[in-house]
Amino acid sequence: MEAIAEKKSYQVDSKGYYGTFGGAFVPEMLYPNVEELRQNYLQIIADPSFQKEFNDLLRNYVGRPTPLYRANRLSKKYNTNIFLKREDLCHTGAHKVNNTIGQILMAQRLGKKRIVAETGAGQHGVATATVCALMNLECTVYMGELDIERQAPNVARMKMLGAEVRPAICGSRTLKDATNEAMRHWINNPVDTHYIIGSVVGPHPYPDMVARFQSIISEEIRWQLKEQTGKETPDYVLACVGGGSNAAGAFYHFLDDEDVRLVAVEAAGMGLDSGHSAATTALGKPGVLHGSRTILMQTEDGQVVEPFSISAGLDYPGIGPQHAYLYDSGRGIFMSATDEEAVQAAFELTRLEGIIPALESAHALAVLGQLGATTDETVVINLSGRGDKDMATYMKHID
């Protein structure tokens, strides 16, 4: 009994915390909405009818299980055994849809009629607009005015899917401001609207709920790895971290396997010391952002600092509270990659394996050379998204 009690848990506790991180730091106007979700989410997820519908959609609509692909030429280059978890092959082009499928089913069971979401690069916005079209729910997506200009193709996709895209015009006019606007929208529409947060951020129970919906990634990795190598745990799991939803999903079923090294790669932007970076753990400190106590980039006065990364999906000043705890406890290994390193890694994967990764996922690939993985070790990289949306950036680097 004592041994069990002493075993460290990296999952959320009964009060909504991961160590000292997490909680629900929301104004009273949001309390009933968040509380309604908190009281119901575990029961709804555990319901067999929910599980059946969720798994059916993941299989037949999203295209799961996604392949676990042994990247032979990449492995040879780094003298180790590299497997790519192909979340880029999910419907809509990234892992984001695992979460939006789960949350739209949640919203239906809570009797909600309308959906609001935030988006940065537009991937989560597209994944949300997609499931809203599927389930015939009204969809409003907030997007920073600057991001709307930078990500025109995804704006067009959301509109074609029937979503209303509203610009966030205050502050820095990017992801964090879009998140603020979505929260305000939820305050203004508390009864019939569900807020589909796109990452493992926000007030409890969002980080835990989103991680559960994304945990299918590591669930599949385990049996796929066993099938291919005879062993279900790798030596390393690598994932990029903005808010951290793909990493949370890729780490989930390995958290208690302490011999599996969990590597989170943040976006260093133009460099850690450049003043244009999004490497939260390297540059941030504990504080409260978007409803949870976590690590965030901020001034001495506690004002949130605007991050920078070439990848809009990693351009976020905080990280999910579970990641803050993995960092703080030493369970997670946090590394970073610059814009330039990420672009190089994207080209390397493309030329060696014929797979064009999203700029976000390219950050995880970029640290392969620094891992020190040996020839008898196994590395799983979560390839969270495909690079179609990033072609304009990549084109600039083609001679």
Binding site: K15, G23, A24, F25, V26, P27, E28, M29, Y31, P32, N33, C170, G171, K176, D177, N180, M183, R184, I187, N188, N189, P190, V191, G287, V288, L289, H290, G291, Q298, E300, D301, G302, Q303, V304
Partner: protein, 268 residues
Amino acid sequence: MNRIKELFRNADHVQNNGLLNIYFTAGFPELNDTMGVLRALQDGGADLVEIGMPYSDPVADGETIQKSNDRALENGMSVKVLFEQLKDMRKTISVPVLLMGYVNPVLQYGIEHFCQKCAEIGVDGLILPDMPMDVYLNEYKTIFESYGILNIFLVTPQTSEARIRLIDAVSEGFIYTVSSASVTGSKSGVNANMESYFSRLNSMNLKNPRLIGFGIKDHETYKQASGHASGAIIGSAFIRVLQESQDLEQDIKSFVREVKNYPETIEI
């Protein structure tokens, strides 16, 4: 005795019109306007003043207050600067003063240090909308109390009766009654839905008095709100006055006077 408690204790026999609490953003429109605005509010007849500490991500606020926050931050406002500006305020200011803001800048300053500074300066209460009640009760309540600082809680039309009772039990001073499901500055006036919500609150016999905020903008709405509570809170409408003003002192005083004393005989 805490000035907020004293105000509400004496309020009944001092006046019947309802107490007027006015919010403004520190360091707005210009960095060093804070004390001038505060003085003009007191001179004009505000009963309490709520000074907003600007924040980069004010999720409970509408566009007007967001923009005043952005501007104040550009002007260089911070918790440290604000405390410096307010350090001698009790030489001239006798009305209760509250600081309103989001929890992160207060955490970064250090809760205890923050409360100590408030006590030193003569700040009477704090409104931190995103500080959860359980965190306050478990971690900060004893600190607030040891410095005599009141923590003001909010209730909204969606707050359950059980939670209202809980908030009432742990509150001192007053309860900030949010009039409708909205961020600041979005709607105005009192409609039928609100009437039933206010009546419901009235019938609960809470131990704390209530001030109604959100959507209060002029004499009419102030009077409506005061009919259902001990008074009202004005924020965004006052920020708009500051935005457009050519003569802050004059415009502030006449705004407050108009809100409180608009002649009864004029009907719309």
